[in-house]
C-alpha cells in the first residue's frame, strides 16, 4: 500500500491507526506525529514561552508514546496521554528553571489549572481547524479561511478577485467535504470515550 493511501486509511479509521501503532508500525507513529505534533508544540510553547524547550518536550512526549504504544486501545486516550505527558514535562521544566533562577522573581509565573485547560482547548481546537482546512482543495480552503476570519461573501470575493458566485460554490464544496468527514470524527470521539470507561 502506498503511503498516501495508508495515511488516508489512518485518517478515516482510527481503530486501524491504533492497531498499527500497537503493532509497532513506524508509519502509524509518523502519522500521529504529523497530525498532533503541531498542536502539542503550540500548547507547550504557550506554557514555556521558549520554542527550543517546547520542541524538546514534544519530542520526548512522542517517544513516551512509542514506549507505551502497546497499551492503547483507541485514539482518544492517545491524544489525552500526549497532552498530559507534555503538560507534566513542561511543569517539571519550569520548576527546574525557577529553582535555577530562584532570585529572578519575574521569571516565576503562576500557571493555574484553568490556564492550562484553556490553552489545551485552544490548541486542540486550532489543530482540528488547521487539519480540516489543509485537506480542502486550495481554492476552497482559501475561501473557507477568510470566512472563518469573519469576512462576508462579498468581502471574500473582493479579496480573492473572484465572483461572489464562485465564493458561494466553494463554500458549499467546503461544507459538504467537512460534513462528510466530520461524521467520522464524531463517531470516533464517541467510540473513544466509551471504551475508555470500560
Amino acid at each position: 500500500m502506498d503511503l498516501n493511501a495508508q495515511n488516508k486509511r489512518f485518517r478515516e479509521e482510527p481503530e486501524y491507526l491504533v492497531k498499527r501503532l500497537r503493532e509497532s508500525d513506524e508509519n502509524a507513529f509518523a502519522f500521529l506525529l504529523d497530525t498532533y505534533g503541531k498542536s502539542l508544540y503550540f500548547y507547550c510553547n504557550s506554557i514555556l514561552e521558549n520554542n527550543t524547550f517546547a520542541e524538546d518536550v514534544v519530542q520526548e512526549s512522542f517517544v513516551r508514546l512509542w514506549e507505551r504504544r502497546k497499551n492503547f486501545a483507541s485514539l482518544l486516550p492517545i491524544r489525552v496521554f500526549l497532552y498530559q505527558t507534555a503538560r507534566n514535562k513542561c511543569l517539571d521544566l519550569l520548576k527546574h528553571e525557577q529553582v535555577v533562577h530562584k532570585y529572578e522573581a519575574d521569571i516565576i509565573r503562576e500557571l493555574s489549572e484553568d490556564f492550562l485547560d484553556e490553552k489545551m482547548i485552544e490548541e486542540e481546537m486550532l489543530g482540528q481547524l488547521y487539519r480540516a482546512i489543509e485537506e480542502l482543495p486550495t481554492e476552497c480552503a482559501r475561501v473557507f479561511k477568510l470566512g472563518l476570519e469573519g469576512l462576508s461573501n462579498q468581502e471574500i470575493a473582493d479579496t480573492l478577485s473572484v465572483s461572489i458566485h464562485t465564493v458561494k460554490t466553494q463554500k458549499q464544496r467546503a461544507m459538504s467535504t467537512l460534513k462528510q468527514r466530520f461524521g467520522v470524527g464524531v463517531i470516533f470521539v464517541v467510540f473513544g470515550m466509551t471504551d475508555f470507561f470500560i
Partner: protein, 392 residues
C-alpha cells in the same frame, strides 16, 4: 478526566466554526459556555475572526522537526529486528554443519570422493601498491619491494601489515615528495602518516599524502573509503575528495567517497569536523559525533543525519554491517571486497533492504547463502561474475 472534556470542548468549538455542529453538541457547548463568566470570556476571545486567522497562519508557517524523534524510533525498532536476524543467522549456521557432517559420513561409507566442484570467490586480503614520488611502484606484499622502502626511511611493519612513516628522518626537500598508496579491489591496508595519524584503507581506494608534513596544514587526497584517527598537533588536517573537503584538528571519522556511489558520506566518531562541499554552490557543515553528512554527488546538496556510527566503521573491524541497506549498495560493497562483478537481475530486488552483520574473511558463497535463506533470492557464480536473481 478533565483532559478528555477539554478535547471534547475543542471538537465542539471547531465543529461550530466549520458549521458542522450537531444539535446535541451545540446544546452541550452552550451549557459549558454559560457555566461561568470565565468560560464565556475565553470562548469569545477564541472564536474572534481575526484571532483565529492569525493563529491559523502560525500553524501554517510552523513545521515541527520530526526527524530526530523518527530516527530514534526507527533505530529502536531496528534493534529488535537485528536481534531477530541474529537468531535467524544462528539457525542458518547450524544447518550447513549438519548437512556437512551427513555428507562426510556418506563419503566415508562409499569410500569414494565424489566431490562436485562449486565455483566460489575467496575474500580479499591485506595488500596494496605504493607509488613513490618518482613514479616507481612497489608491491607491499613482496620482499624486494620492502627492502627498497627501508632505503627511503619508510618502515613497513611486516607482522601487522602496516606502512608507517612515523618518526622518519625527513628533510625540507621531502615536503615536495608525495606518495600514493593504492589499495586494489579485494584489498585493504593500514597506514601511519608522518604525524602519527592512523589511516585504515578499504578496497579500491587511493590516498595521496606527503612523506613529511610541512607548513601549517596537513593535506591528503582521497578517493574511495578510509577511516582516519588524526593526531592532535594544532595544525589543521584536511582530506580532499572530489567535490568535497573535510577539515579537522584531532578526531576520528570515516569518509566514503567512491565514484560509483550516489553520495559521499562523512561519519564522525568523535571530535569535530567541518565538511565543505566544493564547486560554485559550496557550503559548510560542522559535524558532531554520531552524525553523518551525505553529499549528493549529482546535485552537490549536503545533508546531515544522526546515524549509528558503528555501522559505518564496521569494515575496519573486518565486518560487513548492513543496517537498512538496500541490495544495490550492499552488492557494490561485496563487489569491491571480492573483486567480482555482481549483477542483480530483478529491479524489485534492487530496492529490497537488509539487516545483518557478517564477517568479511569468508568466501562469498557463505554470505550469499545466508541471504538466500532469509530473502527471496538465488544466485549463480561464474568465475568472477555473480548473478543474483529472484528465487522461484
Amino acid at each position: 478526566m478533565q483532559n478528555e472534556k477539554n478535547i471534547k470542548i475543542a471538537s465542539w468549538i471547531a465543529a461550530r466554526l466549520q458549521g458542522v455542529i450537531s444539535p446535541e453538541e451545540e446544546k452541550a457547548l452552550d451549557e459549558w459556555i454559560t457555566e461561568n463568566e470565565a468560560h464565556r470570556e475565553f470562548y469569545e476571545r477564541l472564536v474572534d475572526g481575526n484571532y483565529v486567522g492569525r493563529r491559523l497562519e502560525e500553524y501554517e508557517n510552523y513545521s515541527l522537526d520530526t526527524r530526530r524523534v523518527l530516527s530514534f524510533i526507527r533505530r529502536e525498532s531496528r534493534r529488535t529486528r537485528m536481534i531477530r536476524w541474529s537468531r535467524r543467522i544462528a539457525a542458518i549456521l547450524i544447518f550447513p554443519v549438519v548437512i556437512g557432517s551427513l555428507l562426510l559420513l556418506k563419503e566415508k561409507d562409499e569410500g569414494v570422493l565424489n566431490k562436485s566442484i562449486v565455483a566460489d570467490v575467496l575474500p580479499g586480503q591485506e595488500c596494496a601498491i605504493l607509488e613513490m614520488s618518482d613514479g616507481r611502484k612497489v608491491d607491499l606484499g613482496s620482499v624486494s619491494g620492502v627492502e627498497s622502502l627501508q632505503m627511503e626511511g619508510i618502515i613497513l611493519k611486516n607482522d601487522s601489515n602496516v606502512l608507517s612513516y612515523e618518526g622518519g628522518q625527513g628533510t625540507v626537500s621531502d615536503s615536495l615528495k608525495f606518495n600514493t598508496i593504492i589499495v586494489p579491489r579485494g584489498g585493504e591496508y593500514r597506514l601511519i602518516l608522518a604525524d602519527g595519524t592512523r589511516v585504515w584503507l578499504n578496497s579500491q581506494t587511493r590516498l595521496r599524502y606527503p612523506v613529511k608534513f610541512f607548513g601549517n596544514k596537513r593535506e591528503v587526497y582521497l578517493e574511495g573509503e578510509a577511516y582516519f584517527e588524526v593526531t592532535h598537533s594544532g595544525k589543521i588536517f584536511e582530506v580532499h575528495c572530489k567535490g568535497m573537503d573535510v577539515q579537522v584538528l584531532g578526531t576520528s571519522f570515516n569518509i566514503m567517497a567512491y565514484r560509483d556511489e550516489p553520495t559521499m558520506q562523512t561519519t564522525l566518531v568523535n571530535g569535530r569536523v567541518q565538511v565543505n562541499s566544493g564547486g560554485k554552490t559550496g557550503t559548510s557543515i560542522v559535524m558532531e559525533p554520531g552524525y553523518q553528512v551525505q553529499l549528493d554527488t549529482l546535485t552537490g546538496k549536503m545533508e546531515m543525519y544522526e546515524v549509528n556510527v558503528a555501522n559505518f566503521v564496521g569494515w575496519k573491524e573486518k565486518l560487513f554491517v548492513f543496517d537498512d541497506e538496500n541490495m544495490e549498495m550492499m552488492m557494490r560493497k561485496l563487489a569491491r571486497w571480492y573483486d567480482v562483478d555482481i549483477i542483480i537481475e530483478s529491479p524489485k530486488l534492487k530496492k529490497s533492504v537488509f539487516y545483518g552483520v557478517i564477517r568479511k574473511y569468508e568466501n562469498i558463497s557463505k554470505i550469499l547463502d545466508m541471504l538466500k535463506r532469509t530473502q527471496n533470492i538465488d544466485y549463480v557464480i561464474e568465475s568472477n561474475r555473480v548473478v543474483i536473481k529472484e528465487a522461484r
